[in-house]
Amino acid sequence: MANGIFFEAKNLTMRFGGLVAVNNFSLKLNGGELMGLIGPNGAGKTTVFNMITGTLVPTSGKVIWLDEDITGLPPHEITARGIARTFQNVRLFVDMTVQENVMVSFHHKIKASFWQAMFGLRKYTKEEERIREESMTLLRQVGLAHLAGEKAGALAYGQQRRLEIARALATSPKLLLLDEPAAGMNPQETMELADFVREIRDTFDLTIFLIEHDMKFVMGLCERIKVLDYGNTIAEGTPDEVQNNPEVIKAYLGEPKNAAG
């Protein structure tokens, strides 16, 4: 991957009937980067994530990942290629245990066959054992190991958000998309989260692309930021550049109710 493309979104556009939710969105990411995406409510941020991860097929445009065109692939195949995500509205497997939530993410990488599992052959039982251990290690890294046996639905909100990240990490991604990871957290938790995001980027050798409304969080954490408004990209640059961009100020101040969100 010397000169190849790591990640590139080319002119992504998403139409829902008459509504253009995202218009001509382009983005290049370099390996190891920490990129932010901001914009008022309904700007189209989640829709960008949905197009990248295959949840939505873009009306037009392309997604290139490691030199491959992955536009329109189903989500599970995109995950298998190394792009993982979390959800804005937490989507855990609430009636499964915390550890099982993480173990699910190992399933797509399983080497043993279904029949080996049904006959309880060593190849499978060993692999299952390994998945169990690795999921525990991951839980330890995100600080949820002591809750491994609890039902995911029983966790506190902040813990659920962490579990979502752990679960995404367990798929072995190279690119991680976080949709409003700090939503609903208090300032203390938000600060810890920023450290945590940096930490996982380093330990797991990740590229991170995140959506967040909390400006302090985004400005402090991200190296580059993109701003969406009504589906259009209105600014891109370092936190300082973006903060002083008149378009951005207008987008946020023009509609005071959004600035609060």
Binding site: R91, F93, E100, V104, A168
Partner: protein, 344 residues
């Protein structure tokens, strides 16, 4: 002794005790008790495999009666002798090759399972294109289509006349061995990585897919396995009641299975087993409410439909007031039993 070893031994011991109980009934039990035992085993097989799709994968599939029908007809056509078949098919002759082949009972059961699986494979493409209420109605539709075909394709099914005089091959040994086998296989599946993936789809399909799980593949897998065992159970059922016709496997049968798994505890094999046993026993016991009774001089005529009224009321009460059923999604395990025993 490790826990795994202990549990394995206990499992083996309990299977042996099931057989001892069966032997006891075989020797001393009445015909009525044997019938209930057979019904229990068939319903266990059906409910546990039905629960795989409805309870574990969380898809409200309403067409198990189609699989059972296909299994029943396939097995029956294979165990009947060519001469018997020629006698039965009076309206239209049976088509080749069914008209000439005959197979031993075990082979016909496997064929019944395979036939149902092939059918499930074919319909899984439209079925899993949709979800929720639509999936329910589409599967129900396929059940109806099979019933219509059973009536219409007279040169295969003998139409409304059905197939009569099947040999009563289904003994408690067959029915219970298959029930036990089904429970073991399905439990193994549920507790494997594949079973976890299925549960994840039930809990949140979008998230499961984002974690790399292919929903279609896993739903289809559950559907086919469920169909296989339902087909085998259909073969057992045919050789238990010895007469089959299209009216036997209507949506009523599906409804009964739904009651079993809901009352037992949707998503739990233990629940499905308990529900099936209660149903087989309760269903027979409640027959009295539908048959005429003489209490001293008072004659009460039988009331057809009364059992179904009771069952529907039970189903609705459970779903409204005790949604988790008897076991919830919990499973029986020896570890649980011992911790209970030592805890008290």
């Amino acid at each position: 002794m490790t826990k795994e070893r202990r549990n394995l031994l206990l499992n083996i011991a309990s299977i042996i005790s099931v057989y001892i109980i069966l032997w006891f009934f075989q020797k001393y039990g009445t015909e009525y008790q044997i019938r209930i035992l057979n019904n229990m085993a068939v319903f266990i097989t059906l409910a546990v495999s039905y629960n795989l799709v409805n309870g574990i994968c969380g898809q409200l599939h309403l067409g198990p009666n189609a699989f059972i029908t296909i299994g029943a007809y396939t097995a029956a056509l294979l165990t009947m002798s060519p001469a018997e078949k020629q006698m039965s098919f009076i309206i239209k002759p049976l088509i080749w090759p069914f008209s000439v082949i005959q197979a031993p009972f075990p082979v016909s059961l496997i064929a019944a399972g395979i036939a149902a699986t092939i059918f499930a494979f074919l319909i899984s493409f439209p079925v899993f294109r949709v979800r929720g209420d639509y999936l329910a109605i589409v599967t129900l539709g396929f059940g109806e289509v099979i019933r219509v075909l059973c009536n219409a394709l007279q040169s295969v099914t003998n139409g409304p006349l059905g197939l009569k005089g099947l040999k009563p091959y289904t003994t408690i040994w067959w029915s219970w061995s298959i029930a036990i086998f089904t429970v073991i296989v399905i439990q193994k599946l549920i507790n494997s990585s594949w079973g976890r993936a299925m549960k994840a789809i039930r809990e949140n399909e979008i998230a499961a897919q984002a974690m790399g799980i292919n929903p279609f593949k896993h739903l289809m897998m559950a559907f086919l396995i469920s169909a296989f065992f339902s087909g085998v159970a259909g073969g057992l059922l045919a050789h238990l009641i010895t007469t089959i016709s299209p009216t036997l496997f209507t949506f009523f049968l599906t409804f009964n299975l739904l009651i079993i798994i809901v009352v037992g505890g949707l998503g739990s094999t233990t629940g499905a087993v308990i529900g099936a046993m209660l149903f087989a026993w309760g269903g027979e016991a409640l027959r009295v409410v539908e048959s005429p009774m003489d209490i001293g001089p008072v004659h009460i005529p039988g009331i057809p439909g009364m059992r179904m009224v009771l069952f529907s009321v039970i189903l609705m009460l459970v779903i409204i007031f005790a949604r988790r059923g008897i076991t919830g999604r919990n499973e029986f395990s020896w570890d649980w039993l011992f911790s209970k025993l030592s805890g008290k």
